[in-house]
């Protein structure tokens, strides 16, 4: 096989984004995907924020297979027998440019790959990259099924478990406290049913996050995303907490119990589960990121640990698309100088630093530690629900003043830690 300028490993969002841009620039690029087709191994919750990617490949987004544009954001605190939701609806979200879209990753990437192929970039599927071609630590291509494919640069877009990041010595051993496992079901429902049940207009969507007793004291959350004609329903659990949970519990038991909650059952009633999937994501922010480049190699998307959880918002797909595009830009620069050494590829990191990507990761660098507070998943949702129950109660006995109810509840032992924790959140 003749030498190519760039080999991209993985036809997920980040890989395809890089391939698309390189093809537009007329640079020879080969994308190698291990799945049966691009998207076969792609999973998201999920929701993509649109504004950060609006100007990257803008001609594409008109026709992209977005599910629903999100008009309602709901945060639900969950206790054993009750829940308290804060629902935010914004009229601004109803019109263009849309703030965010729910997506189905496999569907999306299959479509994206076709657009990339149309631009002239070659994508081969069913091929797993086994090894890097290493020449004294410098990456010179990949080995696929025993064949050597030489390349000036390898863009590792091979996901959160990136084997290439490890083989290139860019990443340390994976630690349980740095990751979370998401498990989800896609449940078919007609668009009319979804719009009726969630009080949405045509093609409008909702994103709902659940935190509290559903994760049995473990770091994590439940999520619900409305797609065109299905709901993505799932849970995320910190892998360290999941590994240490006593008694042992499986992620699918947690998901099932979540589905059986009275708040959830009516929403998915009559729906047929059509897919069950799992995906690991980085929860360690910038501290857990691998080195992003080396001689002849760049890491993008999940392979670069680019997912961010700041409690209220969860992001990854916008980072994937933009990091792929910036990696492509760096390759274009390197090609002009015919120099793909680390000294030139550092330009990729510079571009990331100038963009919202590393800026946001630095702004929110304290979030992983602060959000790993077990009280956020145990006591506080419970506290909020109890407070609400007491405030709303009208019983046989005379009702006390609301202010008395609140003060009594605040005398609770949690108040001091709540104040301390709220104070620590100034760093998020």
């Amino acid at each position: 096989m003749p030498k190519v300028t760039a080999v991209i490993v993985g036809a997920g969002l980040a890989g395809l984004s890089a391939a698309y841009l390189l093809a537009k620039e007329g640079i020879d690029v080969l994308t190698v995907e291990r799945g049966e087709y691009p998207g076969a191994k792609s999973i998201t919750g999920g929701r993509m924020y649109f504004l950060p990617i609006k100007n990257i490949h803008p001609e594409l987004w008109e026709q992209a297979p977005w599910e629903r544009h999100v008009v309602k954001e709901v945060l639900t605190m969950v206790s054993e027998h009750s829940s308290l939701s804060i629902e935010f609806f914004n009229q601004k979200y109803k019109g263009q440019p849309y703030h965010s879209f729910t997506v189905l990753a496999s569907r999306f990437n299959r479509w994206f790959a076709q657009r990339v192929a149309e631009k002239g970039a070659q994508i081969i599927s069913k091929y797993k990259v086994d090894e890097l071609i290493l020449d004294q630590g410098k990456v010179r291509g990949v080995i696929v099924g025993g064949s050597r494919i030489e390349a000036d640069v390898v863009i590792a877009a091979d996901g959160i478990m990136s084997q290439l990041a490890e083989k290139a010595g860019l990443r340390d051993k994976l630690k349980p406290q740095n990751f979370a496992l998401g498990v989800k079901e896609v449940i078919d429902l007609s668009p009319e049913t979804i719009e009726r049940r969630f009080r949405l207009g045509t093609n409008e969507g909702i994103v709902q996050l659940f935190v509290g007793s559903l994760t049995k004291g473990m770091l994590g959350a439940g999520f619900l995303y409305t797609n065109r004609d299905s709901i993505s329903l799932g849970i995320v659990l910190g892998t360290r907490d999941l590994a240490h949970c006593q008694p042992n519990v499986t992620p699918y038991e947690i998901l099932e119990e979540f589905k059986l909650r009275p708040e959830i059952m009516p929403l998915i009633q009559g729906g047929e589960s059509v897919e069950y999937s799992a995906h690991v994501l980085s929860e360690s922010g910038i501290k857990g990121m691998p080195k992003l480049f080396g001689d002849g190699i760049l890491l993008v998307g999940d392979a670069a640990g680019m997912t961010m959880n700041i409690g209220l918002t969860v992001r990854g797909m916008d980072f994937a698309i933009v990091s792929g595009a910036l990696a492509a830009k760096a390759v274009v620069i390197a090609k002009k100088q015919n120099d793909f050494s680390a000294g030139i590829l550092v330009k990729y990191q510079d571009l990331l630093k100038e963009s919202f990507i590393l800026k946001d990761f630095i702004t929110f660098r304290h979030a992983p530690k602060i959000l790993a507070n077990p009280r956020l998943f145990g006591e506080y949702p419970q506290f909020a629900c109890e407070m609400m129950e007491k405030l709303m109660a009208v019983g046989e006995k005379p009702k006390e003043k609301l202010s008395t109810t609140v003060l009594k509840q605040l005398k609770n032992k949690h108040t001091l830690s709540l104040v301390k924790d709220l104070f620590s959140m100034r760093r998020v």
């Binding site: 291990r34 799945g35 049966e36 087709y37 998207g39 076969a40 191994k41 792609s42 999973i43 998201t44 189905l104 990753a105 496999s106 569907r107 999306f108 990437n109 599927s125 069913k126 091929y127 797993k128 696929v144 099924g145 959160i160 478990m161 084997q163 994976l174 630690k175 349980p176 990751f179 496992l181 498990v183 079901e185 896609v186 299905s230 892998t239 360290r240 999941l242 590994a243 240490h244 949970c245 042992n248 519990v249 499986t250 992620p251 699918y252 038991e253 998901l255 099932e256 119990e257 589905k259 059986l260 589960s273 059509v274 897919e275 069950y276 999937s277 799992a278 995906h279 690991v280």
Partner: protein, 93 residues
């Protein structure tokens, strides 16, 4: 805790089954492990333990998330993705 037969969940998904397992364990290292959390963390129920105390691997069910590799503190798991074109194939994602 809700009773779930994981087979019902996995039956929703399409797989192209390889002949050989892409996952292996070192049984000697596994015997030293008390927690054996691989048995419960896997979203596909790949790992079970038999009467002889050996870990059995149902690689056919694997959803390729990587959780087992991340949580195994004994480095007992030899982990890789399945052969190109094999394993689970998501349609929705």
């Amino acid at each position: 805790m809700a009773k779930v037969n994981i087979k019902d969940k996995l039956a929703l998904d399409t797989y192209k089954l390889a002949k050989e397992s892409h996952l292996k364990v070192n049984q000697e290292l596994c015997k030293k492990c008390e927690g054996k959390c691989c048995l419960s963390v896997c979203p596909a129920g790949v790992y079970t333990i038999d009467e002889q105390g050996e870990i059995r691997i149902k690689f056919e069910a694997c959803l390729e998330c990587g959780t087992c590799l991340i949580v195994c503190t004994h480095n007992a798991i030899e982990w890789s993705y399945p052969r190109g074109g094999f394993g689970v194939q998501f349609k929705y994602g």
